[in-house]
Symmetry: C2
Subunit: 499 residues, 2 copies
């Protein structure tokens, strides 16, 4: 009997180190593995996205475009894949359509092949422009279903979303489970329903994190239901808040009607490479190493809890975490059940903190008001009327129902002018886009770029010596976003870090 | 639709800390979790076995019988379960039948309910006496299929073994995967075949370690094939060389036709308890925390590799590990493909080291000669003639085909006399059995027993301070077994530790 070959997307170069070591891995520490990754037989190699781009210019003094070109050179046989936040591209706001077009065009030119495009609210209007741009560039457009659990999220709802994405011209779909909430049975049911209702030729990829410990089983059931490609990370960069190990997937399928056709010898070398690199980034490693299943009940991703804890401590209210944890599902419900993923997880979490500290919806963050009023896009369910009214009053804006980016006039020319005025600006469209994505960070990066990459990994012996000497830890390096909020004449400072 | 309830055996109190922290957890650190474990709804609670018994008297100055009685008192609603090495009981040699009878009788009296009886070679003659004793005591006898992979191990072979065990009167069967080699498809095939050929009423339990990362999927497939009970460990004592997390199993089954019926609130408290306890045993933690899939190809469990490495280093031959790793599968084949589990893993591994250092089968360990000559029991396949001849010559013994214990006359009376002569002997049959199991360790334990339990766990702050001060680490505490071997007038010392 001929086995069905399951494609594999290797996550080591993007989501794996983003999830495990705060996206700090330097290109230098990846290059040695590229030849083996290129030859191992992966369907694609994920290697670029918002956080890696951000970390490059914020922490590593690396040009992210140069990183992409290097990957292109070192992995000539592989499909390179990136994660794109729809109309947000790699940044934290909606961009005008001309910036979306330019970004996709330039990244394709620099070597990108597969674009996984998602919107945190699953609003297809927020992905349609970038998907069209990918198609125009002749590249692979992958539409994303952000998986979450709520009374409003049903198998049929996901099938409808899948249909809408296919109608946009997507070459494939991705069921994206960023919080490790996808249990085996819904994994099976959703993939099966998509294949049945949209046709077996509809390509379905499945992306799961491993936090809750159940999702390798979910990949198995998704494969049984017909999934074409699944995402995993080489074992030495796997598990915890990361992903299921690539080698375990290979072994799991032995003896079944499926196979990965991956080269185990190559995988073994990639594993050894990152097993040697990993200890250099101990200072940035996630504290979570085992399994956390609480999220099934709390709906709150682990990273979000630590953010809220630190917000509360800064307000001298570290003892009120329990109240905040109970408030999160209520805020989420009031906001129409958004999936909790960047940026909606931070927006909902911070509002829950505000509700507990200052009274229910007495103060809204600007972001929460925007979410309630439709400025992030269409919410899954209706937003509670009380919340809409509070948002209108505080933000002095009306609710919208149109595509949010329709309100944004073309801006590339302006962004180019602004970038051109910066010290160290190189004149390329790539530099304009770097500035457009991270206007707060790019100016500093352009200035220091000539000094070349700064690897923040450390020899474990050196790191241990510094630790003993009481040197500042990794946390000191992180740059959080601060909110300043005035209530009754008193200023509240609240700090939010990306999950 | 009524869901099928899957029973769960919780491993926290025995195999979990044995696998993760060298069996060092003190009873004191378990007691606080017992009420919640007792009420959580487990099918059984594994809490006793050879290594826990050994560690109690060797490292913790704890009476293992007192530990059992304490569990009995603290978990009155639960089936207490133990692992019994057939005719070896909890020790490292075959015992006479009267000792087997006495051990089972006394442990039943002290509160044991379920006996999982296994033989490293899957020779049913080595388990029949203990199974008969369990039945006589009115307790639950579970026959074990030690799972391994070789050209001689087939689904039909396991079904035949299952049939033989059922014929002995076993109340249930356990498919025991101590090396995390059980992939999903064979898990399904073996359980299905047993259920089909021996009848659906045949109770099948499945025990997997998590080392290779695939075995939660194997548990899912085993459940789909009809498995009645699966073994897991609470998440804070799970993964790595340990087991799949109990909470992940619970969540995995949500939405499927199966359920565990476990109380999640109770599980959450058990988790918190051991999450707090675990850091006290950092010094004893396994170095392996992630996933290791190499064993599928090498057939060599992780613990065995580190043993062989340390043997080689002591011989100044640390650079010859690769040769030894290549030799292990050959030695295993020559010995008729024993499963690699205590003690066969140590016996095969040490012989491979000898072969590389001193020439192929030029020197046999006494244990390897015994294995080759049938003194451990019937091997799966024929032993290579050359090996049998070398074993006969070196050990000056003939091969046997009878049940090894048939050569051992009753010995309980003699053991009682020997024990009675020891300082601190308490006069009970339990003390005689403690002496019988570990004659080298019991005398010291009897002497120091009045001083009471010694908890070797350490407050993490204190442990860190000692580490900085260069205090001796945990390794210094371990007591390995030493072989002294003379070759051409030169003495070779080889050291073996339990895996």
């Amino acid at each position: 009997m001929e086995k069905r070959v399951i494609g594999v997307t290797e996550l080591a170069l993007r989501d794996a180190h983003q999830s495990l070591m705060a996206t700090r891995m330097a290109l230098e520490d990846m290059q040695g593995a590229c030849a083996d990754i290129d030859a191992a037989g992966f369907w694609s190699v994920e290697c670029w996205g918002g956080a890696t781009f951000d970390a490059c210019i914020r922490f590593l003094n690396e040009d992210p475009w140069e990183r992409l070109r290097t990957f292109r050179k070192l992995m000539p046989q592989s499909r390179l894949q990136m994660l794109l936040r729809g109309q947000n591209l790699l940044g934290y706001r909606h961009y005008a359509d001309d910036v979306v077009d330019a970004f996709v065009e330039k990244s394709a030119e620099n070597g990108m092949d597969v674009y996984r495009v998602f919107d945190a609210l699953n609003d297809v209007r927020n992905v349609q422009r970038s998907i069209a741009a990918v198609k125009r560039a002749g590249k692979h457009a992958q539409g994303t279903l952000c998986y979450t659990v709520s009374p409003l999220h049903t198998v049929q709802g996901y099938v409808q979303l899948a249909r809408d994405l296919v109608d946009l011209g997507c070459d494939s779909l991705c069921l994206k489970d960023m919080a490790a909430l996808l249990r085996p049975q819904p994994a099976y049911d959703i993939v099966k329903a998509i294949k049945t209702e949209l046709g077996q030729q509809t390509r379905v990829h499945v992306h799961c994190h491993s936090t809750t410990g159940v999702t390798l089983v979910s990949l198995m059931k998704a494969i049984e239901a017909g999934a074409d490609v699944v995402d995993t990370a080489i074992s030495s960069l796997s598990l915890g808040p990361g992903h299921n190990p690539t080698e375990s997937l290979v072994e799991m399928l032995e003896g079944t009607p499926y196979t990965t056709a991956l080269d185990k010898e190559r995988l073994s070398r990639v594993k050894d490479h990152f097993a040697a690199v990993r200890p250099r980034y101990t200072a940035f490693m996630s504290a979570i190493t085992g399994v956390e299943t609480e999220i099934f009940d709390s709906q709150i991703p682990g990273g979000m809890i630590s953010n809220m804890e630190s917000q509360l401590r800064q307000q001298g209210a570290g003892d009120r975490l329990k109240e905040v944890l109970a408030e999160v599902p209520r805020v989420r419900e009031d906001a129409g059940y958004p999936p909790l993923v960047t940026p909606s997880s931070q927006i909902v979490g911070t509002q829950a903190v505000f509700n507990v500290l200052m009274g229910k919806y007495r103060v809204l963050t600007g972001e929460f008001a925007d979410l309630a009023l439709g400025y992030y896009g269409r919410n899954t369910g209706p937003v509670k009327q009380e919340v809409v009214l509070a948002a209108q009053a505080q933000a002095r804006k009306d609710p919208i129902t149109l595509r949010p980016a329709d309100l944004i006039p073309n801006e590339f020319a302006r962004l180019r002018d602004e970038a051109a005025a910066l010290e160290g600006f190189g004149g390329s469209e790539e530099d304009v886009l770097t500035y457009a994505m991270f206007p707060g960070v790019a100016p500093g990066f352009f200035k220091t770029r000539p000094e070349g990459p700064k690897n923040v990994g450390k020899d474990p012996t050196q790191a241990e010596a510094e630790r003993k000497a009481g040197a500042p830890g990794a946390d000191a390096l992180r740059i959080p976003i601060r909110y300043e909020v005035k209530v009754g004449g008193k200023t509240h400072s609240v700090q939010v870090e990306p999950a």
